[in-house]
Symmetry: C2
Subunit: 446 residues, 2 copies
Amino acid sequence: MDLVNRYIEEHKDMYIDWLREFCRIPSVSTQNRGIQEASTWLQSLFKQIGGTADILETTGHPVVYSEFFSGGKKTISFYNHYDVQPEDPLEQWVCEPFAAEIQEDKLICRGAADNKGALMARICAIHAYTQVYGRLPLNVKFIVEGEEERGSVNLSDFIESHSDKVKADLCIWENGIVNPDGSFELKLGTKGILYVELIASGANSDLHSLNGAIVENAAWRLVWALNTLKDRDENVLIGGFYDRVANLSDAERKALEKMAYPEAETLERYGLDRFLLNLSGIALKEKLLFQPTCTICGIDSGYIGEGSKTVLPSKARAKIDFRLVPDQDPEEIVRLLREHLDRNGFEDIEIRARKGSRAAKTDPGHPLVQKVIQAAKKVSGKEPQMVLMNPGSGPMYQLCQQFGIPTVGFGVGNSDSRKHAPNENIFISDYMYGIKLAAMVIHELA
Amino acid sequence: MDLVNRYIEEHKDMYIDWLREFCRIPSVSTQNRGIQEASTWLQSLFKQIGGTADILETTGHPVVYSEFFSGGKKTISFYNHYDVQPEDPLEQWVCEPFAAEIQEDKLICRGAADNKGALMARICAIHAYTQVYGRLPLNVKFIVEGEEERGSVNLSDFIESHSDKVKADLCIWENGIVNPDGSFELKLGTKGILYVELIASGANSDLHSLNGAIVENAAWRLVWALNTLKDRDENVLIGGFYDRVANLSDAERKALEKMAYPEAETLERYGLDRFLLNLSGIALKEKLLFQPTCTICGIDSGYIGEGSKTVLPSKARAKIDFRLVPDQDPEEIVRLLREHLDRNGFEDIEIRARKGSRAAKTDPGHPLVQKVIQAAKKVSGKEPQMVLMNPGSGPMYQLCQQFGIPTVGFGVGNSDSRKHAPNENIFISDYMYGIKLAAMVIHELA
């Protein structure tokens, strides 16, 4: 592997250029921007480095599917996405969100960490490996979707109509971080997600607020309905919500105990003096990894501009995401939410639910996972940090767990990568490191 | 007065042109638009029709002050404002909000009803009267402020430094409507107002919503805080809020019984099937006129655009107005609100309060009010409808009640004038009617 690593170092500038070019495409799926550009750009890169590459249509944005067939016995797949989150609030960025500027070894760009950096690192690894050895030691598939940031709403349909393309012995999941001490984070599971909008409606248009005395206010309806969903101790009050949430196993508890979590750094970075409910230690980690959430992502009603407009809002909307743990079923949660609202006198509140995804987890003892652990050790010289459950979400259940495919995720982010937030970034050094890890994983698995 | 009425009819087109020209100035005080243009436009019109006219500076927008001195013994003042509400939501307008289009005898424009139509009717009346008789039979003052739509925040200071200009035997208040049966509405009081923003703050920027498990969510904090302010039966829960709210007197109850309120038409217009709490009859009218309110005018937090951004908001803001009844003191309410939030564990919620105004009311038996009633009868041939309390607000207490000046309001709106809402409008016929009433009032009072 020394030859491959040397090749990677020698082509550092080119690999950085590839990544910046990709990052500059503003592929914001939820706003339908840059989708065609990003997918065709990827397709031509896959072809350029010797793979097949197809743009496979879905009801939404297409999946870019690429194969590097070596004739080997093993097949691994890489799951990634070419879409990114919206870039607002703009005023908080230190540079243009899609300029892909490099400042002090840091590439700052929407999508750099989530997850264009990780995807490009894998592509560069394939390139370097085949340039040095002529061919790969196993078969590789890339499944790169364009709707992860809006809940992978069409991936299930894709999986159903392309089940042959999904098959693999191991799936390398989209992302992960490099810890401050240089060790890799390996992710073995992911929470599920359900995203809903709650909508309250009153009169047929906004009215003068003097009518607040006698006309129902959509904003108040929404506030009262939201208030019934979660109490101030963070208990979700929807009947049945916790029924499928399992207690921690002994093995999971032990793994949590071993897992480092940089509490002080995180608080400082977020400008906070405490975590929710004053949590710390294992209770904090358990909440983050193994407890479901109910999060208001946005609320919008009435006049929100400057100054004081005295208006009675006719509409109020809240966007809410639920992060789900294994065995919670998003469709069941929607049903429970409807029942809860009805039971509490909020039959008038409309629910618009997106198709969710279930949580998934892989056994850290799986032999192929063990090989990835070996590769991570070889590249970094350090024991990787195992994260049993990613507190974010992804379609791991649909793509892997339902077919019994084990998954492990790693990538090129850092503990301050600001995913989904202004000034998203990765370190160039972590990017180079991630290319080497992807190459080493291919080598070890073969 | 026949000569004056004939003169008014003969100059109808000119008076409509004056109004449309004024309406086309987008004098949105809360957004600092069109203020200088509107105030200087008014100043030159006052001068053109024979008055003095000064633009008197305040810390905020200036007051346009005009006098028509006749040497008569009585002095009346007109209180109006040249500012208007913001025009959004734009997509709900049938024409440009400031184009001042006339469709089927209706002038549609932001500010037409509130209250440029009423102000112009008074100015036209002065013009017609002086053109016919050479001079007015009493002294007239116009106090036209530019910040009514943002709570008359600097009017108190103006009143303090120009107390001579405020003195009058009777103040004609800004506005009122012409009922569907052609009778005038005369307003004898107005609710007070307090406008506040509540602001919840969490981390130093919006975060990926996976952090919802462990980081405080500003939107949830705000929802929980708001929920403590009012229950679902519309009871405001702020301790002491109702302490100064008086029971209805017998006279008030009788007046309420006599007062018509078009329940069915109002419901149909707003697209509703019932009023708040299923109220109707005298209970509905009492709530509208004599009960204080707590109304969410707007809420803003996190991502409110299209699609599903999974974000944990770092800020959440609510705009709230309280409509106050006689003896409630806005400064006291702010204090009670702070105490309430603190007592309920919301010390972290910031309150930004604007200077409010107190409610005011005038005795319908006052001799000068009786003369206005006579004038209204003469113009319309019908008994005017007395509204003891305007459910909207205005600085009537500061400008009049604190000096013992009685007030009565009338104007050119209609029961579907859509003040503060899209498609604000007045009927041209009501405008003409309003010019005649203003002229008749001057005549009767002298």
